[in-house]
């Protein structure tokens, strides 16, 4: 689950919430779904909180990337 892209995780989470809200799921399934939703909430939250420093790169003449900083974007 951690390997998934944030977009997929959010889509999964949204789907589960909708399923749960639709009702008529039996108890075991809804508890499974709930557990999964809580996992997704945590992973998504962690992903959002994970960027300590934004990654900004610039393409160099020799074909690689190097860190890029603008004067007031230190």
């Amino acid at each position: 689950m951690e390997k998934k892209k944030f977009e997929e995780l959010m889509t999964d989470l949204e789907k589960i919430v909708k399923e749960l809200e639709q009702g008529d799921i039996d108890l075991e399934v809804s508890i499974e779904k709930y557990t999964e939703a809580m996992k997704l909430v945590k992973i998504c939250g962690d992903k959002l909180g994970s960027a300590l420093e934004s990654v900004n790169k610039i393409r160099t003449e020799n074909g690689g990337f190097t860190d890029f900083k603008t004067e007031d974007n230190q």
Partner: protein, 420 residues
């Protein structure tokens, strides 16, 4: 021979006629620099058009001049169209201007309109080619100048809104002759990398400054990009060709960054809402199940299992009672009927019926007795018969007849001695 002299006006009229009938001069497109510009109070424009070595007078009448979208002034290079004719009063030939455009700019507008039409015809702007943008991009490519406001605005906006997104700058020239090829090169290069969105643009500037974004090669590179592109050319009012081809158009680089990434604060709110919603939901669900369970536990049957039998027993005994009372009723009815019948007077005193009949019989018998002609004899009467006929009158009998006299008891044969 005398020389013939003509008047000046004849000459000028002749020349005017010559020029007016020359089809080459009826519509001339001319490029020149404005000098001696004079705006008449009535709205007509008088000026001179010149190049390095030559000049011509020009007039633009009010009804044409009113359509100008710019203010002509000395030193301005313009493109004009009009006819060549002569003003008879001065004998000066001049150009009567119908249209006038600023050189360069006018050309650019023309090129812009042509290219826009051309690309629209080719379908490059069509909605079906627009690629959807991912909602949560993880890597964004930026194609713009590495210096200047545009890249700063984009990076700071992304950092503020969605710092978990990585950015990759593909530096390029954004104005001048070399800009278009540079932009194209970097769009192609960016497509070699795993990027979610490209922002292609620059800050605001004059139409000449922005021109690279109106070039056909740039439009094609944007169209061919596999990665969705947001155009971000800093000008609010006019669209560049790049704007029309791009999958999405932003009015400024900052706007492009805002479109490209979500706001992390909103997302955190959204996620915690999901958390609250699911927790509430599951809470409700569990509570409902608990209530259901309690209801079941408290149900009559589970609480007192014998009650079911009691109920059935009750039902059975009710049935038996009903049956009993039905039978009882039925029996009682019959008893009642029997009692009624046995209570009947006749049944109880059948002899009364007999006495009754006996009385009737006696009555009838008495009556019969009374009616018996013989019975009367017992009272002392006698019946006289003559030859077996009852004699009721003396006329029917004569002396000497032998009559039979019937008495109450016995008969007598007698001889009539006298009649009357």
């Amino acid at each position: 021979m005398e020389k013939r002299y003509i008047t000046v006006s004849t000459l000028n009229r002749y020349l005017k006629n010559k020029l007016d009938t020359d089809s080459n001069l009826a519509r001339v497109s001319l490029k020149g620099e404005i000098s001696n510009f004079k705006g008449h109070t009535r709205g007509h424009l008088y000026f001179t058009l010149k190049d390095e070595t030559s000049r011509i007078s020009a007039v633009m009448f009010q009804f044409n001049a009113s359509k100008l979208s710019f203010k002509p002034e000395d030193g301005m290079t313009v493109l004009v169209e009009g006819k060549i004719s002569i003003y008879e009063a001065t004998g000066a030939y001049q150009i009567y201007v119908e249209n006038m455009e600023e050189d360069g700019l006018g050309n650019l507008y023309l090129k812009y309109e042509e290219l826009k039409k051309h690309l629209a015809t080719r379908g490059l702007f069509n909605e079906e080619h627009k690629k959807p943008l991912p909602k949560f991009p993880e890597k964004i490519g930026i194609i713009t100048a590495p210096t200047g406001a545009a890249v700063k605005d984009i990076l700071s906006t992304i950092k503020r809104r969605y710092p978990i997104c990585e950015t990759y700058l593909f530096p390029c020239l954004v104005q001048g002759e070399l800009a278009k090829d540079d932009i194209v090169k970097q769009i192609i290069e960016a497509n070699n990398h795993d990027l979610d969105i490209l922002i292609v643009g620059r800050g605001g500037g004059s139409i000449e400054d922005l021109w690279a974004f109106n070039e056909e090669v740039v439009a094609e590179a944007i169209f061919n990009s596999k990665i969705p592109i947001i155009s971000a050319v800093g000008h609010e009012i006019d669209f560049t060709i790049a704007d029309f081809v791009a999958d999405l158009r932003a009015p400024t680089p900052t706007g492009a960054a805002e479109i490209a990434v979500p706001n992390i604060a909103d997302l955190n709110v959204l996620i915690s809402q999901y958390k609250i919603r699911t927790t509430n939901l599951i809470g409700h669900l569990l509570k409902n199940q608990q209530i259901k369970l309690n209801n079941l536990k408290n149900s009559y049957v589970l609480k007192s299992p014998l009650a079911v039998y009691e109920q059935k027993e009750q039902k059975l005994s009710n049935l038996v009672s009903t049956l009993n009372s039905l039978i009882q009723n039925n029996l009682q009815y019959k008893i009642n009927k029997y009692t009624y019948i046995t209570g009947n007077y006749i049944i109880n005193n059948p002899e009364s019926l007999f006495i009754n009949y006996q009385n009737k019989y006696n009555l009838i018998l008495n009556k019969l007795e009374l009616l018996n002609p013989i019975s009367i004899l017992s009272k002392g009467y006698s019946v006289v018969k003559l030859e077996n006929k009852i004699i009721k009158s003396a006329e029917n009998i004569k002396a000497g007849d032998v009559v039979d006299i019937q008495l109450h008891q016995g008969e007598i044969k007698a001889k009539v001695e006298k009649v009357g």
